[in-house]
C-alpha cells in the first residue's frame, strides 16, 4: 500500500473529493481483480463497472458508523446486483467494517465472505442479495420504515441491467411511485452488457430514462459517467437539488472497466481470471492507479 493510500485511509470518515475517490476506486479495483484471480471465482465485469460508484457512496455520501454497523439512523445501501460482491467487500473492508486482509477469504469454505452479500454474516451489509430483482422492493420497505418512524436516513439501491430484466423490479418501481417514497434512490450501473451478451442482444432496456419516468420516478437529465468520480459527485448534487421522490440516476458505465481485454465484454461477466490475463490486467490497473494517485 502506497503512503498516499495509507494516508487517505487513515481518515476514512472525511468526505473525499473527486480526485481522491478516483484514486481509491482505482486501488480498490486492483484489489478486486487480484482477489478474483487468486480465488479463481467471482464476478469481475460488474464489480469493476461499479468501482467508482460504490467507492463514492462509502467515502463521500453515506451517513454510517463503521463501529456500529446496525446504527438505526444510518443510510442504507443495497447492492441489488449482488454478484458484484467482491466490489462491496473490498470497499466495506477498506472503509473499516472488517479487516482488509480478510478479503482473501472471499468465497472460502467457512469464511464469512459469502459468494453473494449475506447480511447476517458480514458487517456493513444491509441486505443479503444475489437473486436479482429484489433490491428495489427491499429498499422501498426500508425507506417507508424511515417515513413511519420519522427518520431522515436515505436508502440507496444499486442495480444493473439484470435486476431490471426482472418483473419484480417494475412492481417495486410502480409501488414507490404510488407512495412517493421519500429518500429512496435507485442507482443504475448501466453498462449495457449482460451475462450472455449485450443488452440489445439479450433484453433491450432502452429507452430506460423514459421507462422510469413513465413509472413515476424523477430521473437525471444530465448524462453521468459512472466511472468518473467528478460526474458521480455532480449526480449527488443533483440528488440534493430538489425534494421530488423517488429518484433514479442512470450512470453510463463500462463493464470490466479499465482492463482492455474485458471492457464491454459479456464473456468477462464471471469468467475466471487466469494467470496470463492477470498479468496483462494487473499491469494496466497499476498504471491507472499510478496516474490517479499523481492527481491527489
Amino acid at each position: 500500500m502506497s503512503d498516499k493510500l495509507q494516508k487517505l485511509l487513515s481518515d476514512k470518515n472525511r468526505k473525499m473529493n473527486a480526485e481522491e475517490l478516483a484514486f481509491l476506486a482505482a486501488s480498490f479495483r486492483e484489489t478486486m481483480f487480484s482477489v478474483l484471480h487468486e480465488r479463481g471465482t467471482g464476478h469481475w465485469g460488474g464489480a469493476s463497472s461499479a468501482a467508482e460508484l460504490v467507492t463514492a457512496l462509502y467515502f463521500n455520501r453515506l451517513n454510517i458508523k463503521t463501529d456500529d454497523p446496525n446504527w438505526e439512523d444510518r443510510d442504507r445501501f443495497i447492492l441489488s446486483k449482488g454478484h458484484a460482491s467482491v466490489n462491496l467487500y473490498t470497499i466495506l473492508s477498506n472503509r473499516g467494517f472488517f479487516p482488509a486482509e480478510d478479503i482473501h477469504q472471499f468465497r472460502v469454505l467457512g469464511s464469512y465472505l459469502q459468494g453473494h452479500p449475506a447480511m447476517l454474516k458480514i458487517p456493513g451489509v444491509d441486505m443479503s442479495t444475489g437473486a436479482l430483482g429484489h433490491g428495489i422492493s427491499v429498499g422501498l420497505g426500508m425507506a417507508e420504515a424511515a417515513k413511519l418512524s420519522g427518520k431522515n436516513y436515505c436508502t440507496y439501491v444499486l442495480t444493473g441491467e439484470g435486476c431490471l430484466n426482472e418483473g419484480s423490479s417494475w412492481e417495486a418501481l410502480m409501488c414507490a411511485a404510488k407512495y412517493k417514497t421519500k429518500n429512496l434512490v435507485l442507482l443504475i450501473d448501466y453498462n449495457k452488457v449482460q451475462l450472455d451478451g449485450t443488452e440489445d442482444q439479450i433484453m433491450p432496456l432502452h429507452p430506460l430514462k423514459e421507462k422510469l419516468e413513465s413509472f413515476g420516478w424523477l430521473v437525471n437529465d444530465e448524462a453521468y459517467n459512472g466511472n468518473c468520480t467528478k460526474d458521480i459527485l455532480k449526480s449527488f448534487d443533483w440528488l440534493d437539488s430538489n425534494d421530488v421522490w423517488p429518484k433514479a440516476i442512470i450512470y453510463d458505465t463500462t463493464k470490466g472497466a479499465n482492463v482492455s481485454f474485458s471492457e464491454g465484454k459479456n464473456t468477462w461477466h464471471g469468467a475466471v481470471i487466469d494467470d496470463e490475463h492477470y498479468e496483462i490486467g494487473i499491469k494496466e490497473l497499476k498504471e491507472d492507479t499510478a496516474k490517479k494517485e499523481a492527481l491527489v
Binding site: 443479503s128 442479495t129 427491499v138 426500508m142 419484480s168 409501488c175
Partner: protein
Amino acid sequence: MSIAMRDAFGKHLVKLGETHPELVVLDADVSSSTKSGLFGKAFPERFFNVGVAEGNLAGMAAGLATCGYHPVINAFAIFLALKSTDQIRNDICYNNLPVIIAGAYGGLSDSFDGASHQAIEDIAIMRALPNMEVIVPSDARQAELALEYALTRNNPVYIRLNRNAMPDIDTDRDSFFQAKAVKCVEGTDVTIAANGITASMACEAAEILKKDGINAEVFSVPFVKPLDTASLFESVAKTGALVTVEEHLLAGGFASAIAEEAFKAQVRCKVDNIAIEDIFGETGPYIPLLAKYGLSGENIANRVKALLTSKEK
C-alpha cells in the same frame, strides 16, 4: 361454529395493532377478501396495499422488518407460496426476519374459484424453508392465537388461513404458545393427527368410530413446523396405529413432516395418510369438495377401520 377464520384474523389484526406499534400490514389488492383491510381502516399509515404484486409485497416487508417493524403480509396462500417464494426465501428466511406470512384462502377453501386459487402445495413449500415456522390453524381461535404467537417470534412464520367458518376446537393458549398438539379426544385404539381444519372432521370420525367400539385419540396439530412429535409418538406408542389428515397434497405436507421424524425415531406402527393425492382441485361447494377429496369425518372413520383390520405386512 364461530366466525370465519379470515374475519377473526382481520379483527384480531386491528386489536393487536393498538398495542403493537411495530405491526404493519401489507396486502396485494385482496384486502377486502382477506380482511386485512380492517387494519388499513384503523391504521392507514401502517397499511400498504401494493397491488397485485406478491413479489414486491414480500420484498418490501423484508425491508420494513430490517428496520424494526413486524410486517404481516396478507394475500392468497397459493400466490404467496408461488409468486413470492423467491423473496420469502432470499429476503425473509435467509435473513431470519420477523415477517408473518398470512396465506388466506388456504387449502381448497376458495372452493368455487377452482384449482388456480386453491393452495394445496403451500405447506410443502413453506416448511422446506430454513428459519420458517408453519402454522395451520383449525378455527378462528387458533388463527388468533397463531397471530399472537407469531408476533412474539423473531423469525418468519407462515400462517395458513381458511376462508370459511369452521367448527371450534378447544385450544389452550399456553400449550399453543409451546407449539403443542391439542388433544381433542382421548383414546387407546388409534391416533388421528389432524392438521388445520381437518381437526373437526377427525373429532367427528371419533364419534362414528365410538359406535363401532373403536376409541380414537384425536389431535389437532396446528404446528407443522416445529412439529410436536413428542405428543404424537407418545400416543402412537399406546395405540399402535396412526392416521394423518391434511388439506394438502400428500407430497411434502403434514404427513411427510411426521414421516421424516418417525423414521428417525424408528417409530413402528400401522399408518395411513389422508391427503389430496397427486391431483389438482376443482370447482364446487366447500364441504362436498373436501369430501370428494377424502376429507370428511365419514371417510376418516372408514380409513381408520380399514387400517385397523388390515394385516401387518
